[in-house]
């Protein structure tokens, strides 16, 4: 059975230097090919969980396995090699504003390249071809030579998706990818994630806020509440009762504080 797991997280804790206990013993499995959505209020630990999987944050305790290999404490070259297989898309898109769209997409290939040619911008022609192909997948090939900050929010997020596709990722982490977009754009961005998941076979782990999007796109759902998993199941199982448990009670607690 273990061969169909792409990520195994066990008893994961994260305490920030400020004393915030963001994750309190989270254990979960991500299966190959699924579209796993993580829901929960802001501050419930969703972002921290994703960042612990590709080690942008160091877990305080517990373990993370990627494709059966323990990556909790790996460093240097080994860590960079693992990261090349894990794409990530962020809420704020995090593009290099002053660079062209094409160069932003090419940056996704950095982990595969030698330092000197990458700094000189000497990307091989097949890389550029691949970048244009990926831009075509997200439907913005015609903007390849525009400056990244000239694009709208939705377009920038599509560039970010194309950038992560350059890594030929086995896993795509998406940290609230539509939280800064309007509802119509949100839906179209989610469709690109669905396309990446279904047509390219990339496993997706996505943090989301809107339950309507969760019901439409997720194949499985996990809910976090103040650093602990409170729900694990399928989108159609989130009824009124669960909704209240995940969002309602927490809201009351927040008011008390």
């Amino acid at each position: 059975m273990s061969s169909n797991k792409i990520v195994e997280v066990r008893n994961l804790h994260k305490v920030y230097p400020s004393g915030t206990h963001a994750l309190k013993g989270v254990s979960l499995d991500v299966y190959k090919g699924e579209f796993l959505v993580v829901i929960g209020l802001s501050g419930s630990g969703k972002t921290t969980l994703l960042k612990c999987i590709n080690r942008l944050e160091e877990p305080t305790a517990g373990s993370v396995k990627f494709l059966g290999k323990d990556i909790t404490h790996i460093k240097g070259k080994e860590l960079r090699e693992v990261r090349t297989h894990i794409g990530m898309v962020f809420q704020q898109f995090n593009l290099i504003k002053r660079m062209s769209v094409l160069n932003n997409v090419l940056a996704g290939k950095l982990g595969y390249m030698k330092t000197l040619p990458s700094i000189l911008g000497n990307f091989p022609p097949q890389c550029i071809e691949e970048a244009l192909k990926n831009l075509d997948i997200v439907g913005i090939k015609e903007y390849a030579y525009e400056r990244a900050d000239k694009l709208s929010g939705g377009q920038q997020q599509r560039v970010a998706i194309a950038r992560s596709l350059m890594q030929s990722p086995k896993l795509l982490l998406a940290d609230e990818p539509v939280a800064s977009l309007d509802p119509a754009t949100s839906n179209s961005i989610m469709q690109y994630f669905e396309k990446v998941n279904k047509e390219l076979g990339v496993t997706v782990v996505c943090n989301l806020h809107f339950l309507s999007l969760v019901r439409r796109y997720a194949t499985r759902v996990i809910a976090l509440k103040s650093g602990e998993i409170v729900f694990e199941g399928y989108p159609n199982e989130i009824d009124e009762k669960w909704f209240k448990k995940i969002y309602g009670e927490e809201a009351e607690e927040v008011e008390i504080r």
């Binding site: 305490v15 915030t20 960042k51 990261r83 794409g87 990530m88």
Partner: protein, 357 residues
């Protein structure tokens, strides 16, 4: 397996931290109070008692006296600070909410300010009489008249000297760019905080740069005029050294204030440190760097005129020569030319900086 810190409730941990912090703050408050009291005693004795009341020319000095004052101050500071009614306690945010604490700290603060002002007045020997005496006014008239009737006979010499100054400032600024760039990456905390080795490089470089920067270019010019001889070369090196130290700080602050998002994004692609810096950091700092550098050229032109006064070459050296000979008409021409050049440089650098943003 679990970190022992995790067993403890976070709230308790924060509380423990707070208590420790309060202890450290109390010690700081007591030391501050002791210093304030010590300062008050010294100013009262030396500036007010000796100078005003006794009107002494030579002030007596004895270590015994000073140590007695220091012990008294420490005692007063301890009692006052520990009771949390003092100015030090107020500054550290530990003061009690009582009326006495409020009054004692406020009155003491005013006393300190007024004492300092009075002592400062006495030390600078402020005299209204000197400013408006008859000979004084005549001297001022003479020099202002000369300054406003410049002697144009030395115009071509002065022009050559001021061009020398501009080039000197330009070369100092241009040569400063490569070392400043390299240093700024090593003095940016967000790039160096990852392990103790890079962090110690960061601290050592910061200390050296702070030291170099705290020495004014004028003093560097004196040092280098002894080292390489009087002239524009000494002035250029002096400006270069100070520019590197000053701009490395500005550059590194620009690096520290970049958006972290792109750094995260490029790190997540599996890029190495150099690639992260080149792709996520450098594009964010190119404009501020350019802007700082152009502004610094402007500053350096102004400084170069001053540096000339101590033998750094250019228009400043010429100014000093005519001033030494009391040829005020020539000085007038030089001052006017400096003013015009500085004004033009200021205007050009502002325009360029506007254009690149």
């Amino acid at each position: 397996m679990l970190d022992p810190e995790l067993e403890l409730h976070p709230k308790e941990k924060i509380l423990r931290k707070k208590r420790n912090q309060e202890k450290i703050d109390l010690v700081k408050a007591i030391l501050l109070d002791s210093f304030f009291v010590f300062y008050t005693i010294l100013v009262c004795q030396r500036a007010i008692y000796y100078k005003v009341i006794l009107d002494l020319r030579e002030l007596p000095f004895s270590w015994n006296e000073i140590s007695v004052f220091a012990i008294i101050s420490l005692a007063v500071g301890f009692i006052w600070g520990y009771s949390r009614t003092s100015l030090g306690a107020k500054i550290m945010g530990l003061a009690k909410e009582t009326k006495f604490a409020k009054w004692s700290s406020e009155i003491f603060a005013w006393t300190l300010f007024n004492l300092t002002f009075i002592a400062g007045w006495l030390v600078t020997k402020i005299s209204i009489i000197d400013l408006f005496s008859k000979e004084g006014i005549e001297g001022a008239n003479r020099i202002f008249y000369a300054l406003f009737t410049p002697e144009f006979g030395i115009f071509d010499d002065a022009l050559f000297a001021i061009i020398e100054t501009i080039y000197l400032a330009l070369i100092a600024t241009l040569l400063s760019i490569p070392p400043t760039l390299i240093l700024s990456f090593f003095t940016a905390r967000n790039l160096m905080k990852d392990n103790w080795f890079t962090l110690s490089i960061y601290y050592v470089l910061r200390i050296i740069l702070n030291f170099v920067r705290s020495i004014e270019p004028l003093i560097w010019a004196i040092i280098f005029s002894v080292w390489v001889g009087i002239g524009p070369y000494a002035g250029m090196i002096a400006l270069l050294v100070h520019t590197i130290a000053a701009n490395a700080k500005l550059y590194s602050e620009a690096i520290e204030s970049i958006e972290e998002g792109p750094v995260d994004a490029i790190t997540a692609t599996g890029a190495n440190k150099l690639q992260i810096i080149w792709y996520a950091v450098v594009p964010q700092i190119v404009l501020p760097f350019l802007s700082f550098t152009i502004y610094r050229w402007d500053i350096n032109v102004r400084m170069a005129t001053v540096i000339g006064l101590v033998g750094g070459g250019g228009i400043g050296t010429m100014l000093m020569q005519y001033q030494g000979l009391a040829q005020w008409h020539e000085v007038g021409l030089i001052v006017i030319m400096i003013a015009i050049v500085v004004w033009i440089m200021d205007y050009i650098s502002a325009k360029i900086r506007e254009a690149i943003y």
